[in-house]
Amino acid sequence: MLSYLARRLIQTIPILLAVAALIFILFSVIPGSFASSLGDDGKSVLDAETMARMNRELGLSDPIYVRFARYVGQLAQFDLGVSFRTRQPVAVVIAERLWPSAQLALASMGFAIFVGVPLGFVAALRPGSLIDTGSMVLAVSGLSLPKFWLGLLLMYLFALKLGWLPSFGYGDGGLKHLLLPAVALGVSPLALLARTTRAAVLEILDADFVRTARSKGMSETRVVRWHLARNALVIVLTTVGLQFGSVIGQAVVVEKLFSWPGLGSLLIDSVSLRDLPVVQGAILTIVMIFLVINLTVDALCAAIDPRIKYT
């Protein structure tokens, strides 16, 4: 198992390098620069001389292969470079966004898991019932709702109409400010988890070992706990892992809407300002988080299901 994990970790290196190269090339060919972004509001457009000096200072006037070599050289030393706009190390800029992003991702996935999995379970145990139909309608709606619209709806209902929660902001990082963005972000993985859990449980219910357990007189509670839950958990865990990574990437809209200081809003602003070192650093960080989560999920699956062997 340990050698498997070590091998998987080593495999992430070429993936990260490929992603880094892809981002670099993409942002080198699309038009616009940090200097031109400083004048996009039409108010105080930079003069040509300052723009040229800025491009030279930031190394943007060098040929693309020089810039790429410099970038790879920095990465080899675990250096993500310096932000064009704040002139701080990219690692510092990203670090201050990591915790709010993690809070939002954990809360939204917590919401999705604690509501979605039981919902799928109950629906599968009573197929065709009102609760099954109702929960699947909810699940399909959850997958279809645009996050921006849902976020606004939540703001309107819980902040403006009911006055229970603040409509925006980070506050002191507490639950009060976290709830609405977490629900807005968590509804889509919740829906997916509910559907996946339902499908997995229904499939297991038809399996021979469940029928055998029942014919041997095993109580329904034990069947559900020992056979259904453990076997469904592997599928659920895999879905959770995939969704967890996606949630960090999908948080862009929700973070912007709720003024939440996470990686998503950093990324979107850095793209529009063409702060390339931060864009590259933020995407690499998100990819890395995604890879680590998947690795963790694989390890957990092996721990839960003894049939899964990693060599």
Binding site: S33, G42, K43, L266, I268
Partner: protein
């Protein structure tokens, strides 16, 4: 019509200012302002960014040599008690305030001003403010490493500074920008300054949560006695108009800049409509036409386009009347605005006749570069397309990001573009963009070249007679209307909704979102403590 609008606007502003003065400001409380132009600030080093979004926080923390006076409609000395200029307009002597203290407690001196302008011209770092500092004698030599200091900056004593420029200069319009804020020489080079700015402004930096808010607390040693009024200021970063709308209605923020859709909704609401501040800002929305594209080299074609578009209809239906019809380049709030000018009438038949005269009776096709902006971007272009089709002009839309738009326009890589350009507060600077010597990359985006305009602009720059200067600039503005280098679309009407407990807002025509926070106060009905 526009004259009536200008008179009504002026009377409203006067009434607004009088009402604000009539009340006794309350000390204490929290002002909850918003930064609506993005989901973060670019930098906490205001010298590095000229974006309006960043100027919003900088007005709380920093100060410059000049401020914009919204009532007098001109820049006025702020960190100087007096500024005297030599007869040739090149040497300016600043008597600095002796009561201005940085947030770490040290008194501001001439050394700090010299440090600031020297930093601006750094040979290593390109700062946006160098555009204005470059005119100081010896600034370029310092930047190129040919001199150890800027020769034109001379300290007479701790509170007197002599600034010499290469040419006759009125420094107020440039030096009032936040990105020329005066920094403390002993602190600005420290790494901590990048994350904890220290300035001379009314509020002292407390915290910045990137992508969410900045908080400041009252600076007790601020140089205006009794100000600022509020104990704290919280500037929430809220790039989404819909989220601002909910937060404003929920009384979580004290002020919100409105877009066209919200403007209609707020005006229709009996309660919300009572607290709207409307200002004719110095921005002109226009479609620039590139004369290197053959049809646009002909004045008659450009005039035809101005006649072919039903501008009033677009302003009414799409911009929801949150704009004033443009009658040339200079906006209604400009001192050189000419209210006798009439806009191009919507007249497709005349447009067809002009096109026929120019040899384009069968029309032509052009590519129109546009951003997605709701007030001066793709939605407007899409509304114009059928109007131009009626006179046989076809349009191919080229959508780009805002960042890309500014780049392609400056490089001249377009046939036509639509943009919102600053046209003030200095009317000479705004019109100088049409001087043939102004490069395209600077602001002569449409490569305008008219010797008569050059002559008038040179005369306006040379004269000390303000009335004559304004007269000359009005002539330039009139010629531009006839030459039609652009489709004159509209002047922005900025609208800010404010809560009934917020007082002291200034009708800032340069940018309504930029407020001098020391003049704002909240009464005790504010829900924020």
């Amino acid at each position: 019509m526009l004259r009536k609008v200008a008179i009504v606007a002026a009377l409203s502003l006067a009434a607004f200012a009088a009402q604000a003065q009539a009340q006794t400001p309350r000390k204490g409380g929290t002002i909850r302002f918003t930064a609506p132009y993005g989901s973060s600030f670019a930098s906490l080093d205001i010298h590095s960014t000229n974006r309006t979004q960043d100027e919003i926080w900088a007005k709380a923390i920093h100060r410059q040599l000049y401020n914009w006076d919204s009532v007098a409609n001109k820049p006025v000395p702020e960190l100087a008690t007096s500024v005297t200029a030599s007869p040739d307009g090149k040497v300016h002597t600043f008597k600095l305030r002796q009561d201005a203290y940085f947030h770490h407690g040290r008194q501001m001196t001439a050394d700090d001003v010299i440090y600031t302008f020297t930093r601006m011209m750094s040979p290593k770092v390109a700062y946006p403010g160098s555009r204005y500092a470059r005119g100081i004698k010896g600034a370029l030599a310092y930047q190129k490493g040919e001199a150890k200091e800027i020769a034109g900056l001379k300290k007479i004593d701790d509170f007197t500074l002599e600034m010499t420029f290469d040419e006759k200069t009125d420094p107020g319009f440039g030096f009032m920008n936040s990105y020329l804020s005066i920094y403390p020489a002993d602190e600005a080079e420290k790494d901590s300054f990048q994350s904890k700015p220290i300035g001379l402004g009314p509020y002292k930096f407390v915290e910045y949560v990137p992508g969410s808010r900045m908080v400041g607390e009252r600076w007790e040693k601020f140089y205006k006695p009794g100000k600022p009024y509020a104990d704290r200021i919280v500037i929430a970063i809220m790039g989404e108009a819909a989220a601002r709308d909910v937060a404003f209605r929920n009384k979580e923020i004290d002020a919100s800049v409105l877009g066209p859709a919200q403007y209609v909704a707020y005006k229709a609401d009996a309660a919300l409509s009572k607290n709207l501040l409307e200002v004719a800002e110095v921005f002109t929305r226009n479609m620039g036409m590139n004369p290197t594209f053959k049809p646009f080299a002909d004045k008659r074609v450009r005039q035809a386009i101005n006649h072919a578009i039903d501008t009033d209809l677009i302003i009414k239906r799409l911009v929801k009347d949150k704009a004033f019809r443009a009658t040339s380049w200079l906006p209604a709030s400009s001192p050189a605005y000419d209210d006798t000018l009439k806009p191009y009438a919507y007249d497709p038949e005349k447009a067809k006749a002009l096109l026929k005269e120019a040899g384009y009776a069968d029309g032509f096709e052009f590519e129109w570069t546009t951003s997605a902006n709701e007030s001066w971007g793709q939605p407007i272009v899409e509304a114009v397309i059928p109007m131009l089709a009626k006179v046989n002009i076809k349009v191919k839309v080229k959508p780009v990001e805002g960042t890309v738009l500014s780049e392609v326009v400056r490089k001249g890589e377009y046939q036509a573009y639509i943009w919102s350009n600053t046209t003030g507060p200095d009317p000479y600077e705004a019109l100088k963009c049409f001087h043939s010597k102004t490069p395209q990359s600077q602001c002569n985006y449409v490569l305008y070249n008219n010797p008569a305009v050059d002559k008038l602009l040179d005369e306006a720059n040379a004269t000390d007679d303000q009335a004559k200067r304004i007269g000359l600039l009005k002539q330039v503005n009139k010629i531009l209307l006839d030459d039609a280098p652009v489709w004159f679309f509209n002047y922005n009407k900025a609208v800010m909704a404010y809560q009934p407990w917020l007082h002291g807002l200034q009708a800032n025509a340069t940018e309504l979102a930029l407020q001098y926070y020391e003049d704002l106060w909240v009464d005790d009905s504010s829900p924020a403590k």
